[in-house]
Symmetry: C2
Subunit: 186 residues, 2 copies
Amino acid sequence: MERKDLILKAALKLFVDKGFHGTATGKIAQEAGVANGTLFQYFKTKDELVIALYIHIKDELAEYVSKNTAGNADIKETIKSQILSTLYWALDNPVKFQFIQQLHTSPYIGQVEQEVLYKQIEPHLTLIHKGIKQGILKPLPADLIYSLLSNQVFGLYQFITSKKFSKAKQNETIQTTFEMLWDMLT
Amino acid sequence: MERKDLILKAALKLFVDKGFHGTATGKIAQEAGVANGTLFQYFKTKDELVIALYIHIKDELAEYVSKNTAGNADIKETIKSQILSTLYWALDNPVKFQFIQQLHTSPYIGQVEQEVLYKQIEPHLTLIHKGIKQGILKPLPADLIYSLLSNQVFGLYQFITSKKFSKAKQNETIQTTFEMLWDMLT
DNA sequence: TATATTTGTGACTGATTAGTCAATCATGAA
DNA sequence: TTCATGATTGACTAATCAGTCACAAATATA
C-alpha cells in the first residue's frame, strides 16, 4: 500500500472517530505508520488532506455506482440501480459514508470547488431530465427530484443501520421503500 | 439578554462558521462580549457548551412545532402541521438548522444522552403509530416513516435554500411536495 | 453603613497544534 | 565503490488551545 493511501486511510478513521479539528495531523501520521513530515509531503495542509479524502471517497462511490448501473436498461431500472447501489455501498462502507455526510454538513464543503460538486451529481441529473422528458417522472425540477431521492437514501440508511436486520429483511425493506418512492415520483 | 444566552448565541454563530473544534472558547467569549472565565462559569467544559446549545435549539424547535400544531385536527393535518412548521422554522432559522445537522453527523452526537434524543422524536413517533393503527398510514415500522419524513424535510430545505424563490413559489413547492410525500405513505 | 455572597474578570499555564527543516536513508546510475 | 537524487524522518517552533485562579465588582443581607 502506498504511503499516500495509508495516510488517507488513517485520516478517514480518525476523522469519523474524533472529527476534523479533533484529529491532530500528528495522530494521523502515527496511525498511518509514517513520520510527521511525510504527511505534509503528500498534502500541503491539513485542509488539503480533508478535501482530497472527500474527493477520493466520492470518486470511489461514483465508480461503484457506475459499475453497478446497467446503461441500456429502461429509465426506471437505471435509476433503481443508481439508488440501490448507492445504498448498498453505504451499508458496506459505513465509515466512508459517515465521512461524506460529516463533511457535507460542515464548513469544509465551501472549500470543495463547485465544479467538483457538480460533476458528481451531473450523471444523476441527466438521467432525471431524461425521465421527465419521456413523461415517466413527474414534471418537477430535476434537482428537487435528485434532492428527494438522495435524502431518501440517507433516511433508509439511518433506519437500516439502527436495526439488526437479516440480509433478507434488509433487502425486503429496501425494495419496498424504493417502489414507494418510485410511485411518488411518477 | 442574559450572559448565558449571549454565550450560546455567539457559540452558534462561530460553530456554524468555523466548526466545533475550529472555534476557540476564547473567541466565543470575545464574540459574546464577556470574559474568558465567564464562559466556564456557565459551562464546565467546551463539550458541555456544545451539547447544551444543541438541546437548547432542539427545545426551541420543538416548542415552535408544538405551538403551530393543532391538536384536535385529523391525523393528516396534524402530521402536515408538524412537517411544515419544522420546515418553515428551518427556513427562518437557517443557522440553527445547520447547527443541528452539523452536530447530528458529528461524533458529538454520541455525547447526547439517548433519553434526550428519544424525547425529541417521541411525539412524532406516537402520532405515526396512531396513523398506522387507524389504517391511514401504510403498515411500516414507525421509525422508518419518521426517518423518511425527516430526511425529506431536509431534502426540501436543501432544494429551497439553493434557489431564490418568491414566498409564493416557495409555498407552492412545499405544498406540492408534501402531498406527494403523503400519497407515498398512505 | 458594614458585611457576606454571588458573579465576573483576564492574566496565566501546561498541553497541544500545524507546519518546518536539517539530517538521514534507500536506490540506482556511472 | 562513489555519487546524486528524491523520499523519509522526527525534533523543533511559534502559535493557539481549554481550563484555572486570585482578585475585583456588583449585589444582597443585616
